[in-house]
Symmetry: C2
Subunit: 211 residues, 2 copies
């Protein structure tokens, strides 16, 4: 019903398979979705293409984008900036594409502040036991690595309640379809269809006047 | 994910085809849904069976149900009571059935008050023009009938914003699937999965302790 796209932020536990999930969603419904492309000041790795994996920027360019409010959100990790260019997202939404953006919780909440209609999805393994297995890995990790994953998962879990939906990633096929259905269902939300409701009401008022 | 059923209230413009829609939804997914059966003091019509179309009650029985808080909501139309028995709804929800309840807006809002997790769906024709056609009918209606429909539709339209989702009834098949998807998607809402989130968090805390 609602023709404008919905901005969907996807977060989730590390190792929950967000990347694969989104790649599959995009591959299956290329007309429906667009993946938001982040800007970053880090150097391109081999095989990465500017405007496909990232928009690669110098520090000066990135800071100019910040100053001009051209980023919906940004953060600095290990001396490098990462951010979401506003222009790309807004253009795609206006084209009617549902835009998918993968970022962690702090970024997700900033996006929700800038675009209150943003849909927040949290990807999680089906059970706590499964999450445990993914955190511990194949027994080849050092205690340091496991502890750091554990701390991170605890932080991630704290934010889960702030998300609109939980998406269980057990079977990839099933998970992609659930995510697609959730986003499609959201298009029918009343608050996303204010124009439609307004036009129905106006028409009824006009009809009443014609009696 | 969430195993307990969701209570869904369906309202909508008169003539929007709610009855047919729900009959088809139930026929297609009999394991998933249960239709809430109203209690009433009106006399059974030919072919109506107690416990199928309605629970038929005497006025004394009905008023006893009111006194004992056995109805989620009730109203009186033309000297007859109509209401939603709490017991039937709660039993079906506990069995994991999604319970569908067709009532008008005043009742819908009362149900939402008693069960805040209730999902409110509003069924509407696809366009204001189509609604107009359905209101005016085939040109065989008296002005009185049309005026009364118009007034009613205006009242119904006023409440639309209070519903969670709008369901466009254009093509029946499509509409049934949309409704099914919306309700299924709602099962993945974070606030309906507090137990799941709690268990994930507790398990992570325990894991951290085991380091």
């Amino acid at each position: 019903m609602e023709k404008k796209g919905i901005l969907t932020v996807v977060s989730g536990f590390s190792g929950a398979g967000k990347g694969t999930l989104m790649k599959e969603l995009l591959a299956r419904y290329p007309e429906t979705y667009a993946l938001s492309i982040s800007a970053t000041t880090r150097n391109p790795r081999e095989g990465e293409v500017d405007g496909r994996e990232y928009f690669f920027k110098t520090r000066e360019e990135f800071e100019k984008m910040i100053a001009k409010d051209e980023l919906i959100e940004y953060a600095k990790y290990v001396e490098n900036y990462y951010g979401t260019p506003r222009d790309y997202v807004e253009t795609k939404l206006d084209e009617g594409k549902d835009v998918i953006l993968e970022i962690e919780i702090q970024g997700a909440l900033k996006v929700k502040e800038a675009f209150p209609d943003t849909l927040l999805l949290f990807v999680t393994p089906p059970t706590a036991g499964e999450l445990k297995n993914r955190l511990i890995g194949r027994g080849t990790e050092t205690m340091d690595v496991i502890e750091s994953r554990m701390r991170r998962a605890c932080e991630e879990a704290e934010g889960m309640d702030r998300y609109d939906y939980l998406v269980i990633n057990d079977d990839l096929e099933e998970c992609v379809e659930r995510m697609h259905e959730i986003i499609r269902g959201e298009h029918d939300r009343s608050f996303r269809n204010k124009e439609f409701m307004k036009s129905i009401k106006e028409d009824l008022e006009r009809l009443k006047g014609e009696d």
